[in-house]
């Protein structure tokens, strides 16, 4: 990858981080309602995978998807406006935090039912093969989703039919307050996928370049050979499960240890060490991004709310 790409990916992680921190603030101010699940700490996974895709490929996430939407090029303005429940939001204010859609960019949501996106991803993969296309689908889900029946049925059919879907498990070690070893008989998630004869790979989800490398490989094979891949990206969420999370189930030490492995800090160090940019560039990017996030907030704040008529629109096509 060239310098521009590397810096671009770094910048995206910073944008997501600052966007999410701002979303948390806006939530406390009551500007955002419902559940808010932040992507802070997991940025490298979304950016690493999505940056490796073509525009005509598909991305589908769960309810921790703001960062993935932004990585896919959805404007922070429209993501923030969605969080604010405004008509200018990506989902016209009807979806909210858990249901961001930007179909033009092939960002297919935004799904709140744990595991619910996995069958949909299989369906999109089916459609690609049906049309003899060469796109792929990247499907993000968490370690908790691994125990839903949908995981099992989806992986079996994806393998059986050779669907070009990359199933990416963001293993942040917890499903809400439940540590993975209390939920999964086999805590190594990738092993759960092996009994479908799907090629699996495990990657450090805090290392952007490692994720990107894995993504490139998985996408190349899925695209060329029309078969699914399974990637376990080990990562960590620096914030609670949602804004409501009392967070008793993780020790301060554990959180501190993972904060030391902050994917943004790591990538920044890499870029500086390798002379791709300087501290000055870092500051410049921070400033730029701060302005972009501030602009997104302003846009969201000033956007109109949906009207009573909107309540009845788009129930049916």
């Amino acid at each position: 990858m060239n310098k521009a790409e590397l810096i671009g990916m770094y910048r995206q992680m910073v944008l997501i981080r600052k966007f999410e921190d701002q979303a948390g603030e806006s939530y406390k101010l009551g500007k955002i309602g419902g559940f808010l699940h932040l992507y802070v700490g997991q940025e490298a996974v979304g950016v690493g995978f999505i940056s490796a895709l073509r525009p005509d490929d598909y991305v589908i996430g769960a309810y921790r998807e703001h960062g993935q939407a932004i990585a896919r090029g959805v404007s922070p303005r429209r993501v923030m406006a969605e969080l604010y429940g405004k008509k200018t939001g990506v989902s016209s204010g009807k979806g909210g935090s858990m249901h961001m859609f930007d179909v033009e960019r092939h960002f297919m949501g935004g799904h709140g039912i744990v595991g619910g996106g996995m069958p949909l991803a299989a369906g999109m993969g089916f459609a690609i093969n049906y049309r003899d296309g060469d796109q792929v689908v990247v499907c993000f889900f968490g370690d908790g989703a691994v125990n839903e029946g949908a995981f099992h049925e989806s992986l079996n059919i994806a393998s059986l039919w050779g669907l070009p879907v990359i199933y990416v498990c963001e293993n942040n070690l917890y499903g809400m307050g439940t540590a993975i070893n209390r939920a999964s008989a086999v805590p190594e998630v990738f092993r759960r996928a092996q009994c479908y004869d799907i090629d699996v790979e495990s990657v450090d989800g805090m290392d952007l370049l490692a994720v990107r490398e894995t993504a490139d490989r998985a996408i190349r094979i899925a695209r060329k050979e029309h078969r699914p891949r399974f990637v376990e990206a080990t990562t960590y969420r620096f914030r609670g499960h949602s804004m409501a999370d009392p967070g008793q189930y993780r020790t301060k030490e554990e959180i501190a240890d993972y904060e030391k492995r902050d994917p943004i800090v790591k990538m920044r160090a890499y870029l500086i060490e390798n002379g791709f940019f300087t501290d000055a560039d870092v500051e410049a990017i921070d400033k730029e991004v701060d302005a972009e996030v501030a602009d997104a907030v302003k846009f969201a704040d000033e956007s109109p709310e949906p009207s009573r008529e909107d309540l009845f629109a788009d129930v049916y096509a």
Binding site: K94, F101, G116, L120, G123, E153, V315
Partner: protein, 343 residues
């Protein structure tokens, strides 16, 4: 006009739509090589090949998910659930995803999907294989619900359902598959949302659908012999309801009976009764009677199953109650009375 079986009419509808539109495909358990558990998809594999006629593992949730997901990107799946009972395993994909994606995405997506399945009782299949679930689907905004009672409607409604840009639950009935009727060869459709007045009459309106249309028509004949003129409405679409047609009819007859094979509580019959007293309260000379299956899980034993389901005699009885003739009340054992029978 050619005479064909209900299942052949369904088969023809799929054939014609698959020929018309390469995005239409059929998927489900045993739909291809086995030719369909009830032979509804017979020959489709041979004509369209395995890419468009797809056998699946026994994985209802992902079967529905393949339908919804492929519809998200523009295909037009016709998903067969072997019976509606198994669709219970797929409800999350149908209701939490298929029915809501358009709305949640602010209108960016549409889900042009049909889910076809036989439902109902009559073959002694027992409690887990004899359910009617129309009311569950009718309850859900974003879905449409259709039920064909005869071969002509089966073909015309299924073609409309396949062309519709929304998720449509298309309900069939195992007892109807081999029933015969006239089916034009030309490319006609029956619009969704339009009921069919199958018989005109001045005394009572019977509102029904799917498998109950047969016994209702028989009852109407029998009653005619006694000088009681029944108007019979076959709803055909359950969501949306053709409330105008129903309302106009009861404004004429001033009396109504709803007949459903389903359990009564929160069923289609209840909804029709509620709607009618919203639209025609002042016109009723008598309460609407509701003929439903008894409020029990479907038993296996033939005589028990028979006595659980509405039949001509029960329908005649209800009509007589409605018009004040001698009749047996209650029409059905109430949930509360059944609950009292506990040890």
């Amino acid at each position: 006009m050619p005479i064909m079986m209900y299942r052949q009419a369904l088969n023809l509808a799929m054939r014609e739509e698959m020929r018309r539109d390469p995005n239409v495909y059929v998927i489900g358990e045993e739909v291809a090589e086995y030719q369909g558990a009830y032979r509804v998809t017979e020959g489709l594999l041979q004509e369209f090949g395995e890419k468009r006629v797809v056998d699946t593992p026994i994985s209802e949730e992902v079967i529905a998910g393949i339908g919804v997901g492929s519809a998200m990107v523009g295909l037009r799946p016709v998903v067969e659930m072997m019976t509606i009972n198994f669709a219970i395993l797929a409800l999350d994909q149908i209701v939490n995803h298929g029915a809501k994606l358009r709305y949640m995405s602010g209108g960016q997506l549409s889900i042009p999907m049909v889910i076809r399945a036989p439902q109902g009782a009559g073959m002694q299949l027992g409690a887990q294989h004899s359910q009617n679930l129309e009311s569950w689907f009718m309850h859900v905004p974003g879905l449409k619900v259709v039920a064909a009672s005869n071969p002509y409607d089966a073909k015309g409604l299924l073609k409309s359902a396949i062309r519709d840009n929304n998720p449509v639950i298309f309900l069939e009935h195992e007892m109807l598959y081999t029933t015969k009727g006239e089916v034009p060869e030309d490319d006609y459709t029956v619009p969704l949302g339009v009921a069919d007045v199958k018989r005109e009459g001045r005394d009572v309106t019977i509102i029904t659908y799917l498998r109950m249309v047969g016994p209702v028509m028989a009852a109407a004949e029998a009653l005619a012999a006694e000088g009681i003129e029944v108007e019979v409405i076959d709803l055909r679409s359950l969501r949306p309801l053709d409330i105008e047609t129903i309302t106009d009819s009861v404004k004429k007859t001033h009396r109504a009976v709803v007949v459903e094979e389903d359990w009564p509580t929160c069923g289609a019959g209840a909804e029709i009764m509620a709607r009618l007293q919203e639209t025609a309260f002042d016109y009723f000379d008598a309460p609407i009677y509701r003929v439903s299956s008894e409020d029990v899980p479907m038993p296996y034993s033939k005589n028990l199953e028979r006595s659980a389901i509405p039949d001509e005699a029960k329908i005649i009885n209800a009509v007589k109650c409605t018009i004040g003739r001698e009749c047996k009340l209650p029409i059905r054992r109430s949930t509360e009375d059944i609950m009292k029978l506990t040890d």
